[in-house]
């Protein structure tokens, strides 16, 4: 099942050129880029692993692409995303985030319905490989 998180996730996977262009856009806006990866694409899992620190003071997308390539080499079967951090509000807040790498076979997310007290219904999602 295709995981859809962040920008562009309903589009076909971005090519490296397209990723590079998106990164250029972020850098032009003065945002810092961080590479993160995870083997657990559960929508509630907000703690992805950081691939090094976010990169500040970059002028060119190549710097990000080098890190992305390194990360892909070591984690070809992981989800990898790029986060863009905007510091205009004095905190580094994520303004853009998109997936740039997916495993060959993506896990499924199964929805379980549960009846709780009264007649209210609760849902829970589980990642099934």
């Amino acid at each position: 099942m295709r995981i859809t998180q962040g920008c562009f996730s309903f589009l076909p996977d971005l090519t490296d050129d397209q990723i590079s262009t998106q990164v250029e856009y972020c850098l032009r806006k003065g945002w810092a880029i961080g590479v993160e990866y995870s083997y657990d694409p559960h929508p509630r899992n907000i703690y992805w692993q950081m691939w090094g620190n976010p990169m500040f003071d970059l002028k060119d997308a190549k710097g990000v692409m080098i890190e992305l390539d390194d990360c892909r080499k070591l984690h070809p079967e992981a989800y990898i995303r790029l986060n863009a951090f905007d510091a205009t509000r004095a905190v580094e807040s994520v303004t853009m985030s998109f997936i740039v790498n997916r495993p060959k076979v993506e896990p499924e997310i199964r929805l379980t319905r549960m009846e709780a007290d009264g007649r209210s219904i609760r849902y829970t999602q589980t990642v099934v490989r």
Partner: protein
């Protein structure tokens, strides 16, 4: 970028290319703002010509390969290496050989870490910042310390060499330093020598050039010298050159800064009434003559010379 469908043009107009790429402006700026440095300017002009012709060849569909543009700048302190590097970044950007055209200026401290495992991320971080621009490594020979085989500098050198080879399209590395020490650095690191195509030497400035430089600096900051002061400065340059720690244009800039200090003090003590702009911006002979250089340099240096331990050369 050319459309693949469009037929390749049959001719190119180098002159028009020269005008439209903005190379001319950079070269003219170089001529206008940098005094002297004839061999350097010649080399830069040659490089620009090569790159222009290369680009023209590409538009005609002739075989072309991105030339190796890594350079080494050698010369004594204060001969304008950093300034020229900045101009070089602009030039390469206009010619389209670097995408962004910014200059990242670093020294050993920015590349080499303090403990094991610290160097690689540090060097890579600098390289990432320099992508799309020019990486200027000042006093590059400090990277290599032959007396300490566990020095982390070697690690930085290896990463640098690898990136210089693999990312030739992404950044241009300029190594700078004093001529003799750069020579021994290249000797002990043959990898660097073979990866650097352009070795540019910066000559020392002549006395007349230094005087022209200081006038240029003064004009930039709205100062003028009286004719006597100019004569005094010419003498100052002659004497300063013979004293230790002479750093060409940098020494002259410092001399100018100190003359400003003395001028301000003089005006402050002498002024009685209203002052006009000319009074505030004229440097007099006394402001320059008061320098210790006319009395034989710093007391500590003079003492050494008198003792005969070290002759000022």
């Amino acid at each position: 970028m050319m459309d693949t469908d469009a037929p390749a043009p049959k001719t190119v107009d180098l002159r028009a290319e020269y005008e439209s790429s903005g190379v001319r402006e950079v070269l003219e700026e170089l001529d206008r703002e940098l005094i002297g440095l004839k061999p350097v300017k010649d080399r830069i002009r040659e490089t620009a010509a090569l790159l222009l012709v290369d680009r023209a060849r590409a538009t005609l569909g002739l075989a072309h390969e991105t030339p190796t543009l890594h350079m080494s700048f050698t010369g004594n302190p204060g001969t304008g290496k950093t300034t020229v590097a900045l101009k070089m970044a602009g030039l390469l950007h206009r010619l389209g050989y670097v995408r962004k055209g910014h200059l990242v200026s670093v020294t050993r401290d920015d590349l080499v870490g303090q403990y094991i495992g610290h160097t690689a991320p540090k060097t890579k971080d600098v390289l990432k910042r320099a992508m799309g621009g020019v990486l200027f490594i000042d006093e590059a020979y400090y990277l290599y310390r032959p007396d300490n085989e566990r020095d982390y500098g070697q690690e930085a050198i290896e990463i640098l060499l690898q990136v210089m080879e693999n990312n030739r399209d992404d950044l241009v590395v300029i190594l700078a330093g004093y001529a003799d020490r750069m020579e021994s650095f290249f000797q002990s690191n043959p990898g660097f020598r073979s990866r650097i195509a352009h070795h540019i030497e910066f000559p020392d400035y002549s006395d007349a050039e230094l005087l022209a430089i200081v006038k240029h600096m003064m004009a930039d900051q709205n100062y003028t010298m009286s004719p006597e002061a100019e004569r005094a400065f010419a003498e100052y340059i002659k004497l300063r050159r013979k004293q230790p720690h002479f750093a060409n244009a940098r020494s002259i800039r410092n001399a100018f800064d100190r003359a400003r200090l003395r001028q301000a003090n003089r005006i402050f003590l002498e002024a009685k009434g209203a002052l006009d702009a000319a009074a505030l911006s004229t440097i007099e002979q006394a402001d320059i003559r008061a320098s210790r250089v006319f009395r034989g340099g710093l007391d500590s240096d003079r003492a050494r010379t008198i003792d005969g331990e070290e002759a000022a050369s």
